[in-house]
C-alpha cells in the first residue's frame, strides 16, 4: 500500500556566505532523513533545538525547498509539481504551528481566518461558507461569539483551536503539528491534546507530530523518531523506543526529561553537571561522538548506519553492530 507520506533521503543544506559572494561554510540542517507515514498513523519526530525537525516540517509542507531528496504525498513528488496542481495537493496536507499568536494574522478575525482556506480553494459557494465556519468552530469547541474576535482578544488555547479549525477546513489527510502545545499552560495543553485525539478519530487523520516534549510524544505517537544534528538516530514503535532506548543520545534525552525521573525506575545514564568539552562533530564519523559515553575509535571515522534492534526498531550506533545489518528501506517492508 502506498504510504500517505514518503520522505526519502531528504537533505537541506544552508550555505553561509560572508558578503555577497564568498562561501564560508555549509550548515547541514537536514542530512539524509527518510521515513514514511501511513494513513491514520501518528508519527513523532523528537529532538532538541537545532536537530532539524522544523526544517523537515517545512520541506514536507513545501514552504522550503530541499537541497536534495524526495517528498511524496500519496505517491506524488510534491517538489516536482507547481501551479494549480500544487495548490490542489496542498489540500491534503495542512499544519498547526507552535505559537498561535504568531501563526494567526493579528489583523484577522477568527471567522475570516477559518474561512480563508475555504475561500482560497473555492470549495463552497459563498453563502455556505459561514455555515461551514460555524460548524468547524463547534467541532473544535469554540462558541459563535468567538467568531468576530481577533487573536489578541482570545487566550492561547482558544487561538490554537482556531488554528485547528483552520487546518481542518479542507479535510486534509495529514496534519503537520510543529510543537503545537509548547507555548500553552499545562491545563490548556491537556484540553488541546484531547482535541487532537478526538479529531483524529473523527476525521481519520494522520499526524506528523514534532516536539521536544517526550511525555507528550509518548502519549500521542505510534511511531517515534529521534533526530540529532540533522539525522534520525533512532526510530521505531514509540513504546519500544521508550522501553528500550538503544541510541546513547536517546538515553541521554530520557534521563534528562524531568517527567521520567519521577515515576520510572530511571536510566543509568548520569547527566553530568560539568560542561563537556564542546567538541566539533567529526567530519566522517558519528555526529554524537564528542558527547557519547560509549564512544569507540571507529565512531570517529565511520558513520554508523541504522541497525535493526527489533522488527521495526532501528538505531544508528555501532553498539548494535552485531545485530542483523539493515538499511532503512529493508526494515520498512
Amino acid at each position: 500500500m502506498t504510504p500517505l507520506l514518503e520522505v526519502t533521503e531528504l537533505r537541506k543544506h544552508f550555505t553561509l556566505r560572508s558578503g555577497l559572494f564568498r562561501k564560508v561554510g555549509i550548515v547541514k540542517a537536514v542530512d539524509g532523513v527518510s521515513f514514511s507515514i501511513d494513513a491514520q498513523q501518528t508519527y513523532g519526530l523528537a529532538g532538541e533545538t537545532g536537530c532539524g525537525k522544523s526544517t523537515v516540517a517545512k520541506c514536507v509542507l513545501r514552504i522550503m525547498e530541499p537541497t536534495s531528496g524526495e517528498v511524496k504525498i500519496e505517491g506524488r513528488n510534491i517538489h516536482a509539481i507547481k501551479g494549480n496542481e500544487l495548490k490542489q495537493t496542498r489540500r491534503n496536507i495542512q499544519a498547526i504551528f507552535q505559537n498561535p499568536f504568531m501563526s494567526l494574522d493579528p489583523r484577522m478575525t477568527a471567522a475570516s481566518l477559518i474561512a480563508e482556506p475555504l475561500r482560497t480553494h473555492r470549495v463552497l459557494p459563498k453563502q455556505k461558507v459561514s455555515d461551514r465556519v460555524l460548524e468547524l468552530m463547534r467541532t473544535v469547541g469554540l462558541d459563535e461569539e468567538h467568531a468576530s474576535k481577533y487573536p489578541h482578544e482570545l487566550s492561547g488555547g482558544q487561538n490554537q483551536r482556531v488554528a485547528v479549525a483552520r487546518a481542518l477546513a479542507l479535510s486534509p489527510k495529514l496534519v503537520v503539528l510543529d510543537e503545537p502545545t509548547s507555548s500553552l499552560d499545562v491545563s490548556v495543553q491537556a484540553q488541546i491534546l484531547n482535541l487532537f485525539t478526538e479529531i483524529q478519530k473523527r476525521e481519520g487523520l494522520s499526524y506528523l507530530f514534532i516536539s521536544h516534549d517526550l511525555s507528550v510524544l509518548r502519549y500521542l505517537t505510534d511511531v517515534l523518531s529521534i533526530m540529532y544534528l540533522g539525522r534520525i538516530v533512532e526510530t521505531g514503535p514509540s513504546e519500544e523506543v521508550f522501553k528500550n532506548p538503544s541510541h546513547p543520545y536517546t538515553q541521554l534525552l530520557l534521563a534528562s526529561v524531568p517527567e521520567f525521573t519521577l515515576t520510572e525506575a530511571g536510566f543509568k545514564v548520569e547527566v553530568p553537571d560539568r560542561i563537556e568539552a564542546a567538541g566539533v562533530p567529526p567530519e566522517n564519523g558519528c555526529k554524537f561522538y564528542p558527547r557519547c559515553p560509549y564512544r569507540m575509535e571507529k565512531c570517529k571515522t565511520n558513520d554508523p548506519p541504522l541497525y535493526k534492534i527489533g522488527e521495526k526498531h532501528l538505531a544508528a550506533c555501532f553498539l548494535h553492530e552485531n545485530e542483523p545489518f539493515a538499511f532503512y528501506q529493508e526494515a520498512n517492508n
Partner: protein, 297 residues
C-alpha cells in the same frame, strides 16, 4: 519587564487606545488640535473668509496696504485684497497639496516596496536600484528639474513632489515586508495554498501599514513646506492663487514697510508644519511598542 497578568488584559480597539494616549500628551494634543482647525478652515474656507472674492484674487486697489485693523485683522496686500481671506483660502490649497502629494507618493512607493521586500532576488535588485537613482538626487533639485520639463503650476508641482517622494516609502515598506515575510502567519498562509498576491494584499500590507502612515503624517508638513518653497521661487502655484508660499514670495520685498503682508502667511505655514510634526512625533511614540507605556491613573 512585561507581566503576563497585565498582558492578558483585553485591549480596547487600538483606535480608542491611541485616542486616549493622544489626549494624555499635551504637545501631541496641541498638534492634533491645530490640524483639526486647519482642516475645518480649509473645508469651510469660502464661508469663513470675510471677503471671499478678494481671497480668491479679485483686486481692490483703493484698499492697498492697509495695516491690520478691525475690518482687516491681517491687513491688505499690494492689490488691496484682505490678507485674512487670502490666508483662509490658502489653507485649501495647502491641504490639497499635503494630501495629494503624500497620497500619490504612498500609492506609488508602497506596492513597489512590498513587492521588492517580499519576493527578494532580482525583482528586489531592480526596484532598489531604481529607487537609489531617485534618492541620489537632492529632492528639491529633482523637483525643480521635473517642473522645468513639465512647466510651472500647482498641479505639476504636486506631481513633481510626489515623484521625488515615493522612494522613501518604497524603502520603508521594503524593510517591513522583509521582516514580515518571515512571520509564521505567512508560512501558515502558504501552507493553505494562498497565492503570493493574496498574501501580499491580505497579510503583509495591512500589518506593515502603520509606519507608513506615521511617516506620511510627518511628511505632510514637509510637503507643504516644499510646495511653499517651489511657489516661492515661482515654479509652483501661480498668481492669483492664495497659496501661502506665493504670498510670502511676492510680499517679501514689502517686509519692512508693510510687514503684515508676508508675515501672516508665513506664520500659517509655520503653524501647520509644526502641528504635523508634533502629531507625527506623538503618533510614533504612541505606536512604537517599546515606548508604549501602560496608562497610569
Amino acid at each position: 519587564m512585561q507581566l503576563k497578568a497585565a498582558q492578558r488584559i483585553r485591549r480596547r480597539s487600538e483606535v480608542q487606545l491611541i485616542g486616549a494616549s493622544i489626549r494624555r500628551d499635551a504637545l501631541t494634543m496641541a498638534g492634533f488640535a491645530i490640524i483639526l482647525l486647519f482642516v475645518f478652515v480649509a473645508i469651510f474656507a469660502p464661508f469663513l473668509a470675510p471677503y471671499p472674492n478678494e481671497g480668491a484674487g479679485e483686486p481692490n486697489p483703493p484698499n492697498k496696504f492697509l495695516p491690520p485693523s478691525y475690518a482687516h485683522p491681517f491687513g491688505t496686500d499690494y492689490l488691496g485684497r484682505d490678507v485674512l481671506s487670502r490666508v483662509i483660502l490658502g489653507s485649501q490649497v495647502s491641504l490639497v497639496v499635503a494630501v495629494v502629494v503624500i497620497a500619490l507618493a504612498i500609492l506609488i512607493g508602497t506596492p513597489l516596496g512590498a513587492v521588492a521586500g517580499y519576493f527578494g532576488g532580482k525583482v528586489d535588485e531592480v526596484i532598489m536600484r531604481v529607487t537609489d537613482v531617485f534618492l541620489s538626487f537632492p529632492s528639491l533639485l529633482l523637483a525643480i528639474i521635473l517642473l522645468a520639463t513639465l512647466g510651472p503650476g500647482l498641479t505639476n508641482a504636486m506631481i513633481s513632489l510626489s515623484l521625488t517622494w515615493w522612494p522613501w516609502y518604497t524603502r520603508l515598506m521594503r524593510a517591513q515586508a522583509l521582516s514580515l515575510r518571515e512571520r509564521a502567519y505567512v508560512d501558515a498562509a502558504k501552507v493553505i495554498g494562498v497565492s503570493n498576491l493574496w498574501i501580499l494584499l491580505r497579510h503583509v500590507l495591512p500589518n506593515a501599514i502603520t509606519p507608513v502612515l506615521v511617516q506620511g503624517t510627518m511628511d505632510m508638513s514637509s510637503a507643504i513646506l516644499a510646495e511653499a518653497g517651489l511657489s516661492f521661487i515661482g515654479l509652483g502655484a501661480q498668481a492669483p492663487s492664495p497659496e501661502w508660499g506665493l504670498m510670502v514670495s511676492t510680499g517679501r520685498i514689502y517686509i519692512l514697510n508693510f510687514w503684515w503682508f508676508p508675515t501672516f502667511p508665513g506664520l500659517a505655514i509655520f503653524a501647520v508644519a509644526v502641528a504635523f510634526n508634533l502629531l507625527g512625533d506623538g503618533l510614533r511614540e504612541i505606536l512604537d511598542p517599546k515606548t508604549r507605556r501602560f496608562v497610569q491613573q
